[in-house]
């Protein structure tokens, strides 16, 4: 490379020769060590503290659910007409969080994005735990949780079938399909790494447990060959799921005739929003995790910067959808539709609407600047803003449309109770407990895949350009 005086080195890097995805010591064994040591050694003190706090918060979730089940859904702020209330807001929020994992592992794999390898395992785990949190909310929202199995089309003596024409039922299928495929994808990708942990294990118990889950993986050529075929096929099968789950969630709203819910852009808009919030959560978790477990060389600044770019891009898509909805609510000439949107922005929930717009559309614009995309404190704060904004988006959609019924005599302001708060915060306890257990016992980074991104993995390694 010759005359590069007029350009900063970083600019040129981005075009021609981006920084390597694996930093630090230049050998394959050290990658295995870095990742496996986390599971083999005692975790840092911070892990114990975080785990205890999460466990406590999880206890709060348990207590509030027990209270709910023995008392009834009246303990929540749900009312008529806002019968959906926070449980459905939380459900949609958590399903959204659960989108980044499969996008990173499946869609980015098909797009040949090598940087996915540093974060995919991590994001997939997060996806699975988020979907667990999501699934809980509709189940407790039905009120009589002991008959929740009625949502499944099981023949029963009452000849009672779920309504197949209801998008709420499609949701059951969409989310459970997504959960099973994501789990399969996550587990299958982990098999070679579990075998590494098995082979390195010093204690009998861990050798046995890792051994069971490693499914007798030996790393033979034939196994790798099949593994890669299956991985590609699963990626292709999981890709439509990334779009379908949140599209079906959006149908819960959009098939209705309710102003503010019924709009055709909702499916792709929900998908973009889900990816947006999912990536924000990955950043929120990756920033402390890479510092705590010494993974800075595997989850590098370049990974974080690229994720911030995805956050910016998907945030803009969400902004596009807000703008289109607003424009068409006027253009349609439908006065109910027009009212719903003006009411969102200037009605009794205007505060929630403007929190949503600020957090989702305005704040991420700071990522246009490279300096901020690469600043750990800035990205951490913004990722939390985005999480807040995306929760509020679902709140705005659910509550503003419902609380203004067609009959003004039915209008009713929604206020959450302390049980609502305890359940929402408690769901974070569930999420973080599962996540911390994952960090402690399973390989957080896809060891084998990351190795493919090192210079050694390329045929021309060592050639002179």
């Amino acid at each position: 490379m010759a005359n590069t005086a007029e350009l900063t080195h970083a600019e040129l890097d981005n075009i021609i020769d981006p920084p390597a995805l694996v930093q630090g010591k230049d050998d394959l064994a050290s990658i295995t060590d870095t990742v496996c040591n986390v599971a083999e050694n005692k975790p840092p003190r911070a892990w114990y503290i975080a785990f205890l706090i999460s466990l406590g918060v999880l206890g709060m979730l348990g207590a509030s659910i027990v209270y709910l089940v023995i008392t009834g859904v009246g303990v929540w702020g749900n009312n008529q007409p806002v019968a959906w209330g926070w449980p459905i807001v939380n459900f949609v929020f958590w399903v959204g969080i659960g989108h980044a994992g499969t996008l990173i592992s499946a869609v980015l794999y098909l797009f040949r994005q090598g940087w996915r390898t540093g974060i995919n395992r991590f994001a997939e785990a997060m996806t699975i735990f988020a979907v667990i949190c999501a699934g809980m909310f509709p189940a407790i929202h039905v009120g009589r949780i002991w008959v929740i199995y009625w949502v499944f089309p099981i023949p029963n003596q009452m000849a009672l079938w779920p309504n197949f024409r209801s998008p709420l039922l499609w949701d059951v299928f969409a989310v459970s399909t997504y959960f099973s495929v994501s789990l399969l994808f996550w587990y299958m990708g982990m098999v070679p790494d579990l075998a590494s942990l098995r082979d390195r294990a010093k204690k009998k118990m861990s050798r046995l447990l890792y051994g069971i889950f490693a499914l007798g993986w030996t790393g033979a050529n034939r196994q790798w060959h099949r593994y890669e075929r299956v991985y590609l096929l699963l990626a292709a099968l999981a890709t439509p799921l990334v779009l379908s789950v949140h599209s079906v969630v959006s149908f819960d709203f959009a098939t209705s005739q309710l102003p503010g819910w019924h709009t055709t852009i909702l499916p792709p808009y929900f998908v973009a929003g889900a990816i947006f919030s999912g990536f924000a959560m990955v950043v929120t978790l990756a920033v402390p995790a890479r510092a705590l477990f010494g993974l800075r060389n595997l989850i590098t600044m370049r990974h974080l910067e690229l994720m911030n770019k995805v956050i910016l891009a998907t945030g803009l898509m969400v902004g596009y959808a807000y703008a289109m909805e607003f424009f068409i609510s006027w253009y349609s000439g439908n006065k109910y539709e027009g009212f719903a949107f003006v009411n969102r922005a200037f009605g009794s929930y205007a505060w929630a609407y403007w929190i949503m717009v600020s957090c989702n559309v305005l704040v991420p614009q700071i990522f246009w600047f490279k300096r901020f995309r690469r600043s750990i404190p800035v990205m951490f704060v913004i990722s939390i803003f985005v999480n807040i904004g995306m929760w509020f988006e679902r709140f705005v959609i659910v509550v503003t449309s419902l609380n203004r019924d067609f009959l003004p005599s039915s209008w009713h302001y929604f206020s959450p109770t302390y049980v609502d708060f305890a359940t929402l915060i408690g769901s974070f306890g569930l999420f973080l407990t599962l996540f911390l257990l994952f960090c402690r016992f399973l390989p957080q980074v896809a060891i084998a895949e990351v190795k493919l991104q090192t210079p050694h993995a390329h045929a021309h390694h060592g050639d002179d350009h």
């Binding site: 007029e6 350009l7 981005n14 149908f251 005739q257 852009i265 909702l266 792709p268 349609s332 439908n334």
Partner: protein, 412 residues
């Protein structure tokens, strides 16, 4: 990855380009001329002609905007695989002036008094609101009025022209200047991200204006995305066709190989599915909610004369290409893929025809020579503008810093 040794030479095909552009011009003159003559012979004040002309115009515009999107997205993502076919995309995007020429006759139905009383306008029926939806349409007057509409039309074309010029100029500069610091490439990369925002907004509103407002009482927030899906399909199909054609004529034999066709094929598969996803979302949500103000659009398309075509569209635009593209074999055989690409363009045209024409004639499908002629004319005009650029410029972006990576590219 280390790039293979690249022989950075231009690929020049001026004679071929001149020949193709002449063919395009002949097609344009004959097609549009014949369409006009047929339209005039119908004695309906050219109403049928202008509706058919709009379908042709929309067909042209999806090539141009598809090209613009393709170029923008390659830069914003820093794509390597696509460098050798990108110049074709640049030629496609740089046809905005010809698109502008084609837009001029569209002023006639906006300004004439013909058809106003009877239909509300010769082409767009909101020029003078009439009939049972008159009040509703009149309410949209702040947006749907002739001066503002023309102003927006000029604005979209101007913006696209400026963007196309910027990217074309820089790309050619990168070839000829051999700037070792790749300043033009970096400039393109920097502008590509804001460019996509401008693209998304202008494309959406242009689709609302030109196509959605042919049924002015109807509305759909996803409509811009629907047209976008068609644009992306079109440009990938067009890149396949033009690359295969060039190779058949003896150019770009090494620069475009099975790996690149494979990727272009994958994008066509993906956007076939994406189109179906968007089309399904639009249809299903409107059908399910069954609100009178929205169902009119699909009602006229799923009853009487249009019923068969609507159902057929699901098969021709989704099932057939989806299963057609699934095989790896198909995507890696240039000639076979080119045949599929032609198929994609034809069904994409059908889609546009289906979007527009039932609004003119809900009771009968007016398909005839007039549509065929105007479409051939519109395509000819595009081809003329597209190929003309090959007379002066290399058909390969040979100065692109990522050309080596592109040539070494392999699928897994």
């Amino acid at each position: 990855m280390n790039p293979v040794n690249v022989n950075r030479e231009p690929v020049l095909a001026p004679d071929l380009a001149a020949r193709v552009s002449r063919v395009g011009l002949v097609l344009a003159v004959l097609g549009l001329g014949a369409g006009f003559a047929l339209g005039a012979a119908e004695g309906d004040n050219l109403r049928h002609f202008f509706w058919a002309y709009l379908v042709g115009f929309a067909f042209f515009f999806t090539f141009t905007l598809g090209g613009l999107f393709f170029v923008l997205v390659q830069h914003v993502t820093g794509a390597k695989w696509s460098v050798s076919v990108r110049r074709m995309g640049e030629f496609a995007m740089n046809t905005v002036p010809a698109l502008g020429i084609m837009a001029i006759p569209l002023l006639y139905p906006l300004l004439t008094n013909a058809g106003r009383e009877e239909f509300g306008g010769l082409l767009w029926p909101w020029v003078q609101p009439h009939g049972e939806h008159a009040d509703l349409v009149a309410m949209k007057e702040p947006f749907l009025n002739v001066p503002f509409f023309i102003g927006r039309m000029v604005f979209y074309l101007l913006v696209w022209w400026l963007m196309a010029r910027f990217f074309m100029k820089r790309s050619l500069q990168q070839d000829t200047d051999r700037d070792p610091a790749y300043a033009p490439t970096i400039a393109m990369r920097k502008l590509s991200a804001p460019g996509i925002i401008v693209f998304a907004l202008t494309l959406s509103f242009a689709s609302f204006d030109w196509l959605m407002s042919t049924a002015p009482e109807w509305f759909s927030t996803i409509f811009g995305v629907y047209i976008f899906a068609g644009c992306v399909l079109t440009i990938h199909a067009w890149l396949v066709i033009s690359s295969v054609f060039l190779q058949k004529q003896g150019y770009m034999k090494k620069e475009v190989n099975a790996e690149h066709y494979h990727d272009l094929g994958k994008f066509m598969t993906a956007f076939t599915v994406f189109w179906a996803y968007i089309a399904f979302s639009q249809f299903m949500l409107i059908w399910y909610a069954n609100l009178p103000e929205e169902t009119g659009f699909f009602h006229s398309r799923t009853t009487e004369a249009w019923k068969t075509m609507s159902y057929l569209l699901i098969v021709t635009n989704f099932f057939v290409p989806f299963f057609g593209f699934l095989s790896r074999h198909v995507k890696r055989k240039p000639k076979m893929l080119a045949m599929w690409a032609v198929y994609v363009l034809i069904v994409h045209w059908l889609d546009l025809y289906w979007l527009v024409m039932p609004s003119m004639s809900p009771e009968s499908n007016p398909f005839g020579l007039i549509e065929v002629a105007t479409t051939i004319g519109a395509f000819g005009l595009f081809l003329w503008a597209f190929a003309r650029q090959g007379v002066r410029h290399s058909v390969l972006a040979y100065g692109d810093p990522k050309l080596g990576d592109c040539l070494a590219h392999e699928n897994y």
